[in-house]
């Protein structure tokens, strides 16, 4: 057995020489030819650990303790030249966001076959690309090599694609190209930092499979950094769980999943929708009146049809999930339901009123009944407004709606979402999960009958997701209706009374979650369901009885 390409012992990384520790006493080993997954939520220090192992910490972070043996050498002790050579020949890196990582100004071929250790002439040639772009000498050769690589990665039309630019590729294709770039020189170690987070669920599995195979073919050890436990279970030989800079638990994958020792590991496993096998106890169907009705609605932007002939209804107190991949039109549907845009064809009726036909004043009055929660917590709150002011905004417009006073309303609402006493804080002082809860408090303020949540939990950690979902579930228990737009089929299925599946602007399937997930009728839904990774290991007995709070 050859030597492990990466051994880390007692690693410590601080923000500044005397700053707070971001990584404390982390030790791990990447097996040669095997895969170690480094798992944790945001802020756990997993990415920083990986970067420290490569000797490429971002500015501001300093390695203050411990040992790193990267292919037997200490990257921090190497002169820059030697480190570059070590990285170029011995390691490969697969980044999180393939769109951002590829330079839009150069064709893909020039980025994946760039010589890793160019000699003098090679360097000059590469430098010429500043002015000549891809037209510098050797163009045909580069394309040929790139095409061969892309084809091995499973891309069709590799010849044509090699000369194309990154914006012409889909996310999955870009990541395949980057995997090719990271493995073609048969490195001893491949580091993948959240390689599938930016991709659609349907593509995740394929990309990871490819990554695992490419690494194996190159004989490389793979360090996989991820927050997705479900994925990790299938692809890693060993798992190390990180929390707040420390490794909490480490061991062979099966052992950690079947019998987690630490409470945090158990909490993480329990919170991942991918791993939950049982459903929340079935609820009686709402059986109420129709609150919102969408009839034959279409919407176009420029020449592109975002939504075509969409028809569905939401009953009072119902939790309806709208599921689709990015670009499917599900967000457009959400905005049309809220009356924020008018459909080009068809109508949207709320409590029997056609939103497009209402006078502006009447429409504004109706708005208090339906409120949104958006995806991006950063931009959904005005950075200059205090939290209290943002929450009170709907009340300023629609009146107190039954609250005794604005101050009491804000205090009560913030209390309810677990942020009591934070009226005066600014959004920049809160975490993403906290901001999202403020957004929910704001949505709840005018006592609406409907909340439309557009990817409200996608940007959050799994544990935070649970809290936000709980708030939405509580709203529903009190009689409110929820339209939950998401790309996560499993998350949708947990809470929803009905699930609508959207593909390319059309609703292709609608029904209760058991039917949609268990026996999908439309080919697209079948594909979506089929792409979901089933849990590899059953959850430990004690966990499977716990219902997420």
């Amino acid at each position: 057995m050859s030597a492990p390409p990466l051994v880390v012992e007692g690693l410590e990384v601080r923000a500044g020489r005397a700053g707070p520790a971001v990584v404390r006493g982390v030790s791990l080993t990447v097996p040669a030819g095997g895969c170690l997954a480094l798992v944790g939520e945001s802020g756990s220090g997993k990415s920083v650990t990986a970067l420290a192992a490569l000797g490429r910490l971002p500015p501001g972070l300093v390695r203050t303790g411990g040992r790193v043996a990267l292919l037997g050498r200490n990257p921090a002790a190497l002169p820059e030249r030697a480190l570059r050579a070590l990285l170029a020949e011995g390691t490969g890196f697969v980044p999180q966001d393939p769109l951002a990582a590829l330079d839009p100004l150069h064709p893909v071929a020039d980025q994946i076959v760039a010589p890793r250790c160019p000699d003098g002439w090679g360097r000059l040639n590469e430098a010429l690309s500043a002015v000549l772009g891809s037209r510098r000498p050797g163009r045909a050769e580069r394309r040929r090599v790139a095409a061969a690589l892309l084809e091995r990665m499973g891309l069709r039309d590799a010849e044509a694609r090699a000369g194309a630019f990154p914006h012409a590729f889909s996310g999955g294709m870009r990541q395949r190209a980057l995997i090719a770039a990271a493995t073609r020189h048969a490195p001893a170690l491949v580091v993948a930092d959240e390689p599938t987070t930016a991709l659609d669920a349907a593509v995740e599995r394929q990309v990871l499979t490819l990554l695992r195979e490419a690494a194996a073919e190159a004989g490389a050890g793979l360090l996989l950094v991820s927050h997705d436990l479900g994925l990790v279970a299938w692809f890693a030989d060993r798992v190390a769980v990180m929390r707040e800079g420390r490794i909490v638990e480490e061991g062979e994958t099966e052992a950690v999943f079947r019998a987690p020792r630490e409470a945090y590991t158990r909490a993480l496993l329990g919170a991942s929708p991918a791993l939950r096998v049982r459903r929340v106890a079935p609820r009686p169907p709402p059986g109420g009146r129709v609150l919102l009705s969408v009839e034959g609605v279409s919407r176009r932007y420029g020449g592109v049809a975002a939504l075509t002939g969409a028809t569905l209804s939401v009953q009072e107190g119902e939790f309806l999930a709208v599921v689709g991949e990015s670009g499917s039109g599900k967000s457009t549907l959400g905005r049309l339901m809220l009356g924020l845009e008018a459909p080009d064809e068809g109508r949207v009726l709320f409590a029997g009123e056609d939103l497009a036909r209402l006078r502006p004043a009447a429409l504004r009055r109706l708005r208090a009944e339906m409120q949104p929660v958006f995806q991006d917590p950063l931009s959904s709150l005005d950075p200059r407004w205090s939290v209290g002011r943002s929450v009170a905004e709907p009340l300023r417009v629609a009146g107190l709606r039954g609250w005794p006073s604005e101050r009491e309303a804000v205090a009560a609402l913030l209390e309810r979402v677990g942020l009591g006493g934070m009226e005066r804080r600014r959004p920049s002082e809160l975490s993403g999960g906290q901001r999202q809860r403020v957004a929910i408090a704001r949505a709840l303020a005018p006592r609406p009958r409907l909340i439309v949540a557009d990817e409200a939990v996608s940007a959050l950690d799994v544990t935070t997701q649970g809290r936000v979902m709980a708030l939405l579930a509580a709203f529903r228990r009190e009689g409110g209706a929820v339209v939950f737009v998401t790309h996560d089929l499993r998350l949708a299925a947990e809470e929803a009374d009905r699930v609508a599946v959207v593909e390319a602007g059309r609703i292709v399937e609608l029904g209760p979650p058991d039917a949609v997930l268990g026996a999908p009728s439309h080919p697209y839904t079948q594909r979506l369901v089929g792409a979901l990774l089933p849990p590899r290991f059953p959850l430990p007995a004690t966990l499977s009885e716990e219902v997420p709070s």
Partner: protein, 320 residues
């Protein structure tokens, strides 16, 4: 691609046309009136009326404009109303003579601006936050604050008066003596070039810093790429787009500088023609010069857009 070009050219033509309407209206409707202004304040109403009739200024404005436009399309811009040697010269001739000086001057000035500004901006970005960066930023602020006549004055003081290397006045035509012409326009071009190097340096620095902090560069460093390659392949190419843009945007500013230096160095370019026309209330020339300057601005920006598309593949229209 050709369709893209066609539409852009059409847009440019419409814009230039709109400017010509503006120029026309300007000259007709401002207090003073063309004939009054040409004759001076002491002219009697009768004289003014006679000139009005002679120039056709008593007819409906729309008709006047149509006539002017018709002639303008044949490159006939009327005759100059200036006194002295210029009286009666076709405006088109004046403009042609002016362009022969202004175009080389503007080109040389722009070339100097980019040749000085781009490397300085990149150097500042490479050493961001340290001495070089601060020095370049400070120099840029000062350069931007220098009125062209002042910098020209200082350069004359140093190079012409004290050192005697370059002449400060005197003109030879490029056709007659190319080398002499170059010497003549060197100081004025330097003046414009130094001032306009500042926005180029600033933009280059900002763009370079942004690209250097971006993902492609991070990935390249993680793959062990040498810094030279990273800088040329990614940073320089990435900085070129904003630099080209700023050069296009600054053309208006550049033209202001050209006008001032031409007058101060007594070069018979378009700027000098324009000032003489202003002093003499020579409205046909003024009108024509506005349109020419605007046309130059619009065409330069069109060129910039094309250059843009050549560098950034995302901008190209489909199939380009």
């Amino acid at each position: 691609m050709l369709r893209f070009l066609f539409w852009r050219l059409l847009g440019a033509a419409v814009l230039i046309l709109a400017v010509s309407v503006l120029a026309f209206a300007l000259v007709r409707f401002l207090p003073g009136g063309p004939a009054q202004a040409a004759l001076g304040l002491r002219a009697s109403p009768a004289e003014v009326e006679r000139l009005n009739a002679a120039l056709g200024l008593d007819r409906p404005v729309a008709v006047q404009y149509a006539e002017w436009l018709g002639r303008a399309l044949r490159l006939d811009f009327g005759t100059s109303l200036s006194g002295g040697a210029r009286a009666g010269t076709p405006v088109a001739d004046l403009i042609a003579r002016g362009l022969a000086v202004t175009v080389p001057l503007a080109l040389l000035g722009t070339a100097i601006a980019v040749a000085v500004g781009l490397p300085l901006g990149l150097a500042a970005a490479a050493r961001a936050g340290r001495g070089t960066d601060r020095a370049v930023s400070a120099a840029a602020v000062v350069a931007l604050s220098l009125p062209p006549f002042y910098l020209g004055y200082l350069l004359i003081l140093v190079f012409a008066v004290r050192l005697g290397w370059l002449p400060s006045v005197g003109y030879v035509s490029p056709a007659a003596d190319p080398a002499g012409f170059l010497r003549i326009i060197l100081l004025p071009a330097l003046t414009i070039g130094i001032i306009n190097a500042a926005p180029v340096a600033r933009t280059a620095r900002a763009a370079a810093v942004e690209v250097a902090a971006g993902e492609p560069v991070r990935l390249a460093r993680l793959a062990g790429a040498p810094p030279g390659v990273v800088w040329f392949k990614h940073v320089l190419r990435g900085a070129m787009v904003p630099v080209v843009t700023v050069v296009g945007l600054q053309v208006g500013f550049l033209m202001g500088g050209v006008i001032v230096v031409e007058n101060m160095f007594a070069l018979p370019g378009l700027g000098r023609q324009m000032l003489i026309a202003a002093e003499q209330r020579d409205y046909p020339t003024l009108q024509a010069v506005i349109v020419v300057f605007a046309a130059a601005f619009v065409l330069v920006n069109l060129l910039v857009d094309l250059l843009y598309a050549a560098i950034d593949p995302r901008i190209r229209p489909e199939g380009g």
